[in-house]
């Protein structure tokens, strides 16, 4: 009987060792796959962020191209310049908070480049002797897209519309900046 008990005792230790070995191997496998998964998800999340950035950039680029077709900024007073930006409307829009989230942009600025004017932000008091109208500026690090456009505005002295050359600068909405 004693011998039998001894044998059983020896056998149990062996089994315990095997169980421990197996448990460690399984644990190691689990940890290995967990790490592989972690690395994979880190890379794929980075890719998702990159593709989201790219989509937002594309949206900003396309929006810039089509802004002159938007009735809020397009020049519709005459048929002389159908793809012009209406600078008078832009100045009014600058003071309106209602259009802040209208174009899914975090930055939108119209700059007059020719003829050259004093490099200052336009207000109703210095207009049109100024060079830029910032319609939207929500701050943050911005990747700005630019397009050359024709701009038009009413000249009270000449009693007619004048046409100039300008640029539109726009930047897409940044992730997490979704207010409004």
């Amino acid at each position: 009987m004693t011998k039998m008990t001894d044998l059983t005792a020896i056998y149990s230790k062996k089994a315990q060792m095997k169980i421990q070995q197996m448990a460690f191997v399984l644990l190691a496998i689990m940890i290995f796959f967990a790490m592989v998964g972690l690395i994979y998800f880190t890379i794929s999340i980075a890719n998702v962020q990159a593709s989201a950035e790219e989509l937002r950039d594309n949206e900003a680029r396309e929006t810039v191209k089509k802004l002159s077709g938007s009735p809020e900024l397009g020049f519709t007073s005459t048929t002389d310049c159908s793809s012009c930006i209406d600078l008078d409307k832009a100045l009014i829009l600058k003071d309106s908070t209602r259009y802040q989230n209208f174009w899914n942009l975090d930055f939108l600025m119209i700059e007059k480049i020719s003829p050259e004017s004093s490099s200052v932000e336009c207000t109703k008091t210095n207009y049109p002797d100024c060079s830029q109208i910032t319609l939207i500026n929500k701050g943050g690090s911005l990747s700005t897209k630019t397009a050359i456009v024709a701009i038009a505005h009413w000249d009270g002295n000449r009693q007619s519309f004048v046409y100039e050359l300008g640029k539109i600068h726009a930047s897409a909405k940044i992730l997490g900046n979704q207010s409004g």
Binding site: L26, M30, G37, E59, K65, K89, F102, W103
Partner: protein
Amino acid sequence: MNKRGYEFSFAWLFAIIIGAVVIFLAVYAATSFVGTSRFQIDTETAKEIGVLLNPIETNIEQAKVSRITVPDATRIFAECDAESGNFGIQQISASVKSGINQPWLPDPGATSSFRNKYIFSSSPYIEADKNFYILSKPFSYPFKIADFIIIWSDKQPYCFVNSPSEIEKEIEQLSPEGLISVPSISGCPAIGKIVCFPGPESSNPSCDIVITPAQGGGRVTHLETREENSYIESIDSNDKNAMLYAAIFSSPEQYNCQIHRLMKRLSEEANLLREKSQFLQQRGCGGAGPIQADLLRTSQLASAISNSRELSNVAFINQIKELYDKNDRLNCDLF
């Protein structure tokens, strides 16, 4: 024998339990991963479609036709929310058919929101095997308010029967895919929607949609649901049918919501032009004063319109005509 049996059974039992846990976790992770990937693809597709709709919008054109080709069967969910903010919201989400697991996820991907887009399509979604067809038309009343983006697909082409000559000519010039104009129902393809304009076949039971024109507008009846979309003609006589197209291709629920959003935008644009006229008046455009009261009235009347039936409000229509005429008389036109 007994000892060996005991040894194997315990070790195997342990291995089986842990193995089962590992396999369960692996299957769960794989399923979650596939689900997440599909959600990601659906979300990206919706955003891409939204971005692709930008170049389709018009500048000086009276209409633009385009096509979006998708690699796999896709559903676009174009939802309209008229109540949100000053302009309402156009939400776009998408679902792409998959060969793994269930073909369509129960819910589409994340929505992309746009305040400056107006999509008119069948609801709750529009499905294409390969191609979505898009017709973009500007709507002016009395100034340009927005571009209508009308979407249909290769799964549901449209057949216009006995359409007026200007629509027939436009379809001929634009040659949009999935949209034909024929003199008789017998010329329509077997699948798709048949749109019957007034004529000998307008009461034919094959008609899915019937047009009933009236002075300055009319009604579009969707016979399947027995619901009606009312439409008005644009002020621009060269292109007065933008809203008619929208009423044909759009479900009544979506159409009314978009009309509500459109009127909100008209109201805001009228306010913007009123401020512009005040500004121009200070800067030497003497005639800009009298139009300001009309712009204010237009803004008020437009903001009160919440569905297509209210478009036929006589006071509103007369006000728009008045505004159009007064602007014509200005030396510094507002629009």
